[in-house]
């Protein structure tokens, strides 16, 4: 096996396996060794599932021998720890679920298992996927492989760091307001939030159900497409899932650059890198149109009403009786005291804050002023995208307004942390697909990412244009 086996893409690994250059078991053992050595620093994994991985690798090798399986057979990957694998701990990086063992497979896991995938472990996240830095994990922060003093982004920061640190070939993340794209940008990898409904959410621990999507986080655009092809599709366990991803053809590329995405608060180096890509696309023959997405400015406020409101309802199920950690002592004698004890001790600060925020905006007297207004603003944001994407193929802008920040830098000021999501949340509100790909580095060597946004179920267009950009700018 090559000494830099860990850098290989899905295509390269698959070829090596089929050509018998190495076996899945050898590769899996090599990755597990590498994790033991490197993850002490990066801390991408909450739980390394060594036994499961070795067992799956043996199954995969059998499949390959018989000529069965698909391109993902035998390829070691990492799974965000809010996606359930039967019989494996699933913590959502919360103390509440510290010892919770998943009772069933998420649909995406079932699909990967059928493909003969190898699960190396479960990756760190902000508790219940609420955060943009992985600092809200109840266990430990994950570090950015490009600079260990900096955050990997979040909430899928563990998955992003595992891919960027070559601790797996690819990973799965989930994205409610940018949780795949922002860490992909911070870690210099590729990540897509598919159209709402493209991938089943069954077995994903719910944060905000009208916004959540599972998606791949990979080393290349091609890999991203490969994984999405395997995990997508209608599922009877998620009534919002559909088989709608379209085949598309593109003759002339028309790209929209919204002026609102280059406003105040955008880091100068990020701006320069993204504008450089726009020039490149123009010189390659793409038509660039400047338009306005007038309600962009309201997207973040809208998101921070809708997401916490849905979270407060989704997290109401956590009482610590039927599952999860129980903190009740013998001093209480009413069931209500058990709820209060378990929820107060089990949830971290950020999660409690969001539950309370959602409870507030849904409560009598505030429902009309906040929640109902936000649902209307969501319509306006959706219409902004519909109008623009009727005429052009793609919207392009930065993924994050800032470069990866230092651990602790933003943790005291909630608004400055929330502003890191300013370009990503509107995509979830509108339900459209968005991909983040690397487009260069800052003068200090930190990755910069750009985001491409497409019409519903036109992921293919995102991949076509991303590949063009990747060819020119390379992968990090």
């Amino acid at each position: 096996m090559k000494t830099d086996f860990y850098k290989m893409t899905i295509g390269e690994v698959s070829e090596g396996l089929r050509n018998k250059e190495f076996t899945s078991l050898e590769l899996t053992k090599a990755f597990l060794e590498r994790i033991k050595e490197k993850d002490k620093e990066i801390k991408a994994y909450i739980n390394v599932t060594e036994d499961l991985a070795l067992e799956q690798a043996k199954i995969a090798d059998e499949m390959i021998k018989k000529g069965e399986g698909n391109i993902l057979t035998g390829i070691p990957c990492a799974i965000k720890d809010n996606i359930m694998i039967k019989g494996v701990k699933c913590t959502a990086a919360s103390k509440f679920l510290e010892n919770y063992i998943a009772e069933y497979d998420a649909t995406v896991i079932e699909k990967l298992k059928k493909s003969g995938a190898v699960f190396l472990g479960k990756t760190n996240l902000d508790e219940f996927a609420m955060g943009s830095s992985c600092e809200n994990s109840a266990f430990f922060p994950t570090r950015n492989p490009h600079d260990l003093e900096r955050v990997p982004g979040g909430s899928s920061g563990g998955s992003a760091a595992a891919v960027a640190g070559d601790l797996c070939v690819y990973a799965l993340g989930s994205d409610t307001g940018g949780s795949i794209r922002q860490p992909a940008s911070f870690c210099g990898i590729t990540g897509i939030k598919p159209t709402y409904g493209a991938v089943s959410r069954y077995g994903l621990i719910a944060f905000a159900s009208s916004l959540d999507q599972i998606g791949p986080m990979t080393k290349t655009v091609e890999d991203c497409k490969i994984v999405l092809d395997v995990i997508k599709g209608k599922d009877k366990m998620d009534s919002t899932s559909t088989d709608s991803i379209k085949e598309v053809k593109m003759d002339k590329i028309r790209i929209v650059v919204p002026k609102e995405y280059f406003g105040e608060g955008l880091d100068k180096e990020v701006e320069k890198s993204v504008k450089d890509v726009i020039e490149f696309l123009k010189s390659s023959g793409a038509e660039i149109v400047e338009v306005s997405l007038p309600n962009t400015d309201y997207a973040l406020a809208c998101y921070y009403i809708i997401a916490p409101a849905e979270a407060s309802a989704n997290l109401a199920r956590f009482d610590g009786l039927r599952y999860g950690i129980a903190f009740d002592g013998n001093e209480v004698d009413k069931v209500m005291d058990i709820y209060l004890n378990n929820r107060t001790n089990g949830f971290g600060k950020e999660v409690k804050k969001r539950i309370m925020l959602g409870t507030y905006t849904l409560s009598s007297g505030y429902y009309d002023a906040f929640y109902k207004r936000a649902l209307k603003v969501r319509t306006l944001i959706r219409q902004d995208f519909e109008k623009v994407l009727e005429k052009v193929d793609i919207i392009l802008g930065p993924t994050s307004p800032c470069l990866p920040f230092k651990i602790g830098e933003k943790s005291d000021d909630p608004m400055s942390m929330y502003l890191a999501d300013i370009y990503t949340v509107s995509i979830n509100l509108a339900g459209v697909p968005g991909i983040s790909i690397p487009c260069g580095k800052s003068s200090t060597g930190l990755p910069i990412g750009l985001q491409l946004i497409g019409a519903p179920f036109e992921e293919e267009k995102l991949f076509i244009i991303s590949s063009l950009i990747e060819k020119k700018y390379g992968r990090n």
């Binding site: 919770y100 063992i101 009772e103 409904g197 009208s210 009877k236 009534s239 919002t240 899932s241 559909t242 400015d297 309201y298 973040l300 406020a301 809208c302 921070y304 009403i305 109401a316 610590g320 009786l321 039927r322 599952y323 999860g324 950690i325 129980a326 009740d328 209480v332 004698d333 009413k334 069931v335 209500m336 058990i338 709820y339 209060l340 929820r343 107060t344 409690k352 804050k353 539950i355 309370m356 925020l357 409870t359 507030y360 905006t361 409560s363 002023a369 906040f370 109902k372 207004r373 936000a374 649902l375 209307k376 603003v377 319509t379 306006l380 959706r382 909630p414 608004m415 929330y418 509108a430």
Partner: protein
């Protein structure tokens, strides 16, 4: 700034306990977010429909037949149990 009383009320509705020494920080952080989300009051939203859900699918129906599934794992996850039953504290009581 949001009042202490309101914070206590929201905590109660959320089934969360707040310690006295956490109140001030909570008021502070809560207020900065509320100031920000208040931005939506600027917009005129008359005659705009609400979007609560993006799903375009119709209602999904299935035959109402029971499936037998293994419940051992679910029961093992109970925080307290007697035999195969979930054990909880008193459910009926007088509110004090």
């Amino acid at each position: 700034m949001i009042s202490e009383e309101e914070i206590r009320k929201i905590a109660k509705l959320s089934y969360l306990k707040i310690n006295d020494n956490e109140i001030e920080e909570m008021r502070d952080k809560f207020s900065s977010i509320l100031d920000y989300i208040n931005k939506l009051q600027e917009l005129n939203l008359d005659n705009i429909a609400e979007t609560a859900n993006l799903s375009k699918t119709d209602n999904v129906f299935r035959e109402d037949v029971s499936e037998k599934k293994d419940s051992e794992g679910l029961i093992n996850a109970f925080s307290k149990k007697k035999d195969r039953f979930l054990e909880v504290k008193k459910i009926l009581y007088n509110e004090d």
